[in-house]
């Protein structure tokens, strides 16, 4: 009897374990997918030549500068570079300078002549498309930059200065961007305005006179922006007035029966003075007060 119960228990246990439980009754299978990935190597970029674009524009002989900028991959892995120009503070000069850039195979092909390579990019310091390229380890590319202003711009922007920037980035995100700054400016104006001509005095009375002259001209400062200094002499010389572009000026508070020498000269925005125009004026005698008294 004891054997039977033992046998029965074993059968019951077997049936319990053999029942379709979660683990035992499910089939399984598997598959694999293998892959390899690689990290980029160094694609650090460097440039030379940008400093040669530092320039002082002048009129009329120096209105254009051309220089090659060489980009080199100094790393051990191919990478793509992006070379962009920009400026620090925007001003009239940054928008006036016309920039063109193109790739050349040799620095000797990048001169200040009129020649230009194909696929040139164009813009100003405010907005200039970037040059891009892909370089293997140790490889270089040359980008020729030409920058110019017109003679009129040189005159109107005389004395202006700006800072241009170059930013060279690599597709190697671990690399350090390269930046460089240069200064460009327009030579200061050293040419004075023309001397006022035709200076005359009219309507002279015992205490005033009116001066007239033909306006000066200037290579940079526009006519309406010229300043005229009117000076008198004859014992009490001094500056009477500094005024913007008059063609007439009435000098008040003169003494009767006195001779004055009036001079007029023009000054441009750079501070250059023109020659002096002069005129001598003698005021009329004073009126006899009694003459006007009516009895």
């Amino acid at each position: 009897m004891r054997h039977r119960w033992v046998t029965a228990s074993a059968v019951a246990l077997f049936l319990v374990l053999a029942a379709p439980g979660v683990a035992g009754a499910y089939w399984s299978t598997s598959a694999t997918a293998a892959a390899s990935v690689a990290a980029a190597g160094s694609g650090q970029m460097a440039q030379t030549g940008f400093g040669s674009l530092a320039f002082v524009y002048g009129d009329p002989s120096a209105l254009r500068v051309t220089a090659p900028v060489t980009v080199t991959n100094t790393g051990d892995s191919a990478a793509t570079y992006t070379m962009a120009l920009g400026r620090q503070a925007a001003n009239g000069l940054t928008s006036a300078v016309a920039i063109r850039s193109w790739k050349v195979s040799s620095v000797s092909l990048c001169d200040n002549g009129d020649g230009e390579g194909g696929n040139a990019q164009s813009g100003t310091w405010n907005s200039m498309p970037a040059q891009t390229g892909t370089l293997g380890p140790g490889s270089s590319e040359i980008v020729c930059y030409r920058m110019s202003i017109t003679s009129a711009q040189a005159a109107s922007l005389a004395g202006s200065t700006m800072t241009g920037t170059l930013t060279l980035r690599s597709s190697d995100l671990w690399s350090t961007p390269v930046t460089a700054d240069i200064s460009q400016s327009v030579a200061a104006d050293t040419i004075p305005p023309t001397t006022p001509t035709g200076l005359t005095a009219s309507g002279t009375t015992s205490n005033q006179t009116t001066l007239k002259w033909t306006p000066s001209t200037d290579n940079v400062t526009s006519g309406p922006s010229l300043v005229y200094e009117i000076v008198w002499g004859s014992g009490s010389s001094g500056l009477i007035s500094t005024t913007m572009n008059p063609v007439t000026f009435t000098v008040p508070m003169l003494s009767p029966n006195t001779t004055y020498v009036f001079t007029v000269r023009a000054k441009d925005r750079a501070g250059n003075y023109s020659g002096i125009a002069s005129v001598t004026v003698t005021t009329l005698p004073a009126l006899n007060p009694q003459a006007s008294v009516m009895w």
Binding site: A12, A19, T29, A31, A34, S36, V37, A38, A39
Partner: protein
């Protein structure tokens, strides 16, 4: 008629045999009832199976492939050199080649080889998608070492295929020491039968 001793003894033997047989039957009956009461659900399955015509019963098969093979080698994933934050993608097609539904998932990832410590800076993302590109939403992502999709298995009917997009990303914070590194890994896709 008086029974002879021999006849009485024989009669007792027969009675004992009958009792023993009945007792044994009872014991096994109790055992079977006990086992059925313990297994619960299997009782119903067992009952259900009893109505199936024996002539229609056949054994099932299970099978799973990745891009048509049980051990797929993803080609050219290292053709793109990864910088920090960059990724590469490749489509993978899981196919249930068996005759029973499967729930498939990436159970683990084995790093086969690596240099420059690159494996520590890789993230995998697996997304069910007909197209494959970086940054797909709703995928499962994780570091190479801990990647698994076991919590969200892909259920495939018999003969069904599913296209997944595998994206491998080099962490944006990967240090420059990873430069030039390589890593090879194997995704282990496990599948279990789905109860119907």
């Amino acid at each position: 008629m008086q029974e002879t001793p021999v006849s009485s003894a024989a009669s007792r033997g027969v009675s004992r045999a009958i009792r023993r047989m009945l007792g044994t039957t009872a014991v096994f009956g109790v055992a079977i009832l006990a086992s059925l009461s313990v297994t619960g659900a299997s009782y119903a399955l067992w009952n259900a199976e009893t109505v199936v015509n024996a002539s229609t019963v056949s054994s099932g098969t299970v099978g799973l492939t990745v891009n048509g093979t049980a051990n797929f080698a993803i080609p050219s994933l290292d053709a793109t050199r990864l910088g920090p934050g960059q990724s590469v993608t490749t489509p993978l097609t899981l196919t249930n080649t068996g005759t029973t539904p499967l729930a498939a998932s990436v159970g683990s990832v084995s790093v086969l080889s690596q240099t420059h410590g690159m494996d520590a800076h890789l993230t995998l993302r697996l997304t069910p998608s007909a197209t494959c590109s970086a940054g797909l939403p709703n995928g499962v992502s994780g570091t190479l070492a801990a990647f698994t999709t076991a919590a969200s298995p892909y259920v495939l009917a018999a003969g069904e295929s599913m296209t997944l997009c595998l994206e491998v990303t080099l962490d944006a914070s990967a240090p420059s020491s990873v430069r030039g590194g390589t890593a090879s890994f194997r995704m282990n896709v496990d599948a279990v039968q789905v109860r119907q």
